[in-house]
């Protein structure tokens, strides 16, 4: 398996998913994990330490570059994250340098995986997202073994549109040469087919799952209802849309507080915007928090909003729902496929979010009932179930190959 070993502030959902998948798959197969991040903690657990190989840790993680959630890797001058920045030229220059540096680091990382795999007896190459594609491609060429590519997010999601970046091309090539592509939702499968031209027949949808969550002890000190945004502060996650929603809501309801958990490249713009709108007494930025603290805030909140521009799945919505928290989703969220009776809104339609949130707040009894039903439902699908499905898919590929 080639992918992140542990969740961290940069890889968020991808890291969490890979962590659980690796944990569960390792119970069924001999799993060798090649990771760019530290996997020491992971290795210290019940699995054999030899199963985990951390490559290029210093070089890559320090530059925080090989990171599937990182938007600016794929941006060009006209792209959104910096279109409202006064320093477009500087960012452009910076990105060009980063791009070259990332390509070099990726090449280095891939070569090391290939080198380390020389004496490795393996049956299937199971890779996650773009960082794993060059190495997987080479390994497939050398070994002729089946290549399964699990896609958690694409350049299309991160940039909000089809781009002409090298990353887009890399992802397209990866999906084309993969024997099987695992998508995390039907929504994402459609993007792969429509935007990347991948055959629908080689894409299998396996939704994420959820295990029991560890939650910190916390009681919110506020009298007001809490509306939560949880995710990387990026264009993809609709972070700035959340500010617009907050502004519009505050015009109608004053008894609210807004909490933004997570960090990301838009934090400065978001804070400046809240400052200009005189909303900073109503909106709180928590920065990066441990998962158990984020879950505690979910438990203390009344509504979570996921206004993502394109959300392949949206694991945090599943986590929120499992904690009985009502959610409002943009229509571009894969997680909507596994949640019933959850409001889904056109991504840019601020007024619709406002109405959906106000309805939840006005009918808390009913909302709570739906949330509990959803919680019961989502708890049935845990990471073991997900990993079993992945395992079956891998076995099938092995049989086919």
């Amino acid at each position: 398996m080639i992918g992140p070993g542990n969740p961290n502030p940069q890889n968020s959902g991808l890291g969490i998913a890979c962590y659980h998948i690796a944990q569960n798959l390792a119970k069924k197969v001999h799993l060798k994990l090649f990771s760019v991040e530290s996997a020491e903690e992971f290795a210290d657990q019940e699995m054999e330490s030899s199963r985990t190989e951390t490559l290029n840790r210093q070089k890559l993680t320090n530059k925080k570059q090989l990171n599937a959630d990182l938007v600016h890797l794929s941006v060009t001058s006209e792209l959104n994250p910096y279109s409202y920045s006064s320093s477009i030229d500087i960012e452009e220059h910076y990105n060009e340098n980063i791009e070259i540096s990332v390509q070099e680091a990726l090449e280095d990382f891939s070569q090391k995986i290939v080198l380390k795999s020389r004496n490795l007896d393996f049956d299937v190459i199971y890779a996650h997202d773009w960082t794993a594609i060059p190495a997987s491609k080479k390994l497939k060429e050398l070994s002729g073994k089946p290549f399964v590519l699990h896609i958690h997010a694409l350049d299309y999601d991160r940039s909000g549109k089809k781009s002409n970046s090298w990353l887009f091309d890399l992802e397209k090539e990866g999906m084309q040469i993969a024997d099987l592509v695992i998508a995390v939702s039907e929504y994402h499968k459609n993007i792969m087919v429509k935007e990347y031209g991948i055959k629908a027949s080689k894409i299998k949808v396996i939704h994420h799952g959820i295990d029991e969550l560890q939650v910190s002890d916390y009681k919110a000190p506020f009298d007001e209802d809490i509306i939560l945004f949880c995710g990387r502060l990026s264009l993809q996650k609709g972070a700035t849309t959340f500010i617009e929603i907050a502004e519009a809501l505050l015009k109608k309801e004053q008894n609210l507080r807004f909490v933004v958990t997570g960090q990301g490249e838009l934090i400065e713009e978001m804070i400046a915007s809240c400052n200009e709108k005189a909303m900073l007494n109503k909106i709180h930025f928590t920065g990066h928090l441990p998962q158990e603290d984020v879950f505690a805030i979910m438990k203390a909140s009344q509504v979570m909003v996921m206004p993502s521009l394109s959300e392949p799945f949206g694991l945090s919505a599943l986590e929120a729902v499992s904690l009985n928290l009502p959610v409002v989703l943009s229509k571009n969220c894969g997680v909507a496929e596994v949640l019933k009776d959850v409001p889904k809104v056109v991504q840019s339609d601020i007024e619709s979010y406002v109405i959906a949130i106000r309805e939840i707040l006005a009918n808390q009894k009913q909302s709570s009932k739906i949330a509990k039903q959803n919680a019961e439902s989502v708890k049935k699908r845990n990471w073991e179930t997900v990993s079993d499905e992945i395992f079956s898919a891998l076995k099938q590929e092995l049989k086919n190959g």
Binding site: D223, E269, A272, N275, L280, T286, L289, A296, I297
Partner: protein
């Protein structure tokens, strides 16, 4: 040669990080023990010899001009009570001339004039725990000056204020000269050296814990004439007006004022702090006022801007959490 030098002794207080989940728990905000440890660590190498120099100058009747911040005095008294007594003797006998400033050597004025006024008043009150004498002349942190600063300082009973003689702003005005403030009640301003050459020099020196560029105490400087006397030169009505509508700071300070204010996060913090002070100023406890002042310490504001972005965000988020924590106490 300098005609006068004002030596600054401060010790910044460390504000504890506050997580969002800790808001409302009334946790202590100031890391007194860490700040004290830093003081003790620095004392023998960075503080002791400077204070001895000041004492020696006092013994030689050179009447050094000194600002001591309240945290500095507190830690000095705790760590070396004898040295503190020696300093007290010299201050009380007029051998060391006290210069007044903000209690925590902060930029509270950049946040809120109201907060600034409280910090200046706090300093005067707090000083009486250590000395029998009070300062007559005021110098703001980084020599920050505008008309409103003068108005506030005047209202608190000071005889005069030091401002900066930046020639580009002064149009012919010079350091060492006395001017009238552009305020309702005329108030004397003495100009320290600015960013141009002048024969008369009032240099601003970092004794310890301040951000003036120079930490060289010139032992040859003798302030034989009490600085207050400079303010008495001539008929006050004859002084020309020195009007400053926006805060000017000394070029001797390590950073320019925009470094503390212009980053969006700094702007947001200062604006939110100001809103809090304006809303609750009559109700705010001494501890909460202190915390607000500490959030305006130069080092603290700079941390939001000058460290790595991630660290800057962390400082900002923690600072904002402190503001929320304060505001919840007065709901």
């Amino acid at each position: 040669m300098d005609n006068y030098q004002i030596i600054h002794f401060n010790h910044p207080l460390e504000v504890k990080k506050l997580s969002f989940l800790d808001i409302g728990k009334n946790l202590p905000a100031v890391d007194e023990s860490k700040s004290q440890k830093t003081f003790i660590d620095d004392f023998s190498d960075l503080v002791y010899s400077k204070l001895k120099t000041v004492l020696k100058m006092a013994e030689e009747d050179k009447c050094p001009l000194v600002f001591f911040s309240l945290p500095f005095l507190k830690f000095l008294k705790q760590h070396d009570a004898n040295l503190m007594l020696e300093i007290k003797k010299k201050v009380d006998t007029g051998k060391i001339q006290l210069i007044g400033s903000c209690a925590y050597h902060s930029f509270s004025y950049l946040c809120s004039p109201l907060l600034f006024k409280k910090e200046v008043a706090l300093y005067l009150d707090g000083l009486s725990d250590y000395f029998e004498k009070k300062p007559g002349i005021f110098i703001n942190t980084a020599c920050l000056y505008d008309d409103q600063v003068a108005e506030i300082v005047n209202s608190l009973g000071y005889q005069g204020i030091i401002a900066t003689a930046n020639p580009w702003h002064l149009a012919g005005k010079h350091s060492g000269q006395v001017y009238k403030s552009n305020t309702a009640q005329p108030f004397n301003i003495l100009l320290s050296n600015g960013d141009g050459p002048d024969n008369f020099q009032i240099s601003l020196v970092n004794g310890y814990g301040s951000a003036y560029n120079s930490d060289f105490i010139d032992k040859s400087v003798s302030n034989e004439k009490q600085i207050q006397e400079l303010f008495m030169i001539g008929n006050p009505d004859e002084h020309s007006v020195y009007a400053v509508s926006l805060p000017l700071s000394s070029p001797s300070w390590e950073h320019k004022i925009p470094d503390y204010t212009n980053n969006p996060l700094q702007k947001a913090l200062l604006k939110q702090g100001s809103a809090l002070v304006n809303q609750y100023h009559d109700k705010l406890s001494a501890e909460d006022l202190k915390l607000l002042m500490l959030l305006c310490q130069p080092d603290h504001l700079l941390q939001i801007n000058q460290t790595s972005k991630e660290e800057g965000y962390d400082h900002f988020i923690s600072s904002m959490n402190h503001l929320t924590d304060i505001s919840l106490r007065y709901k």
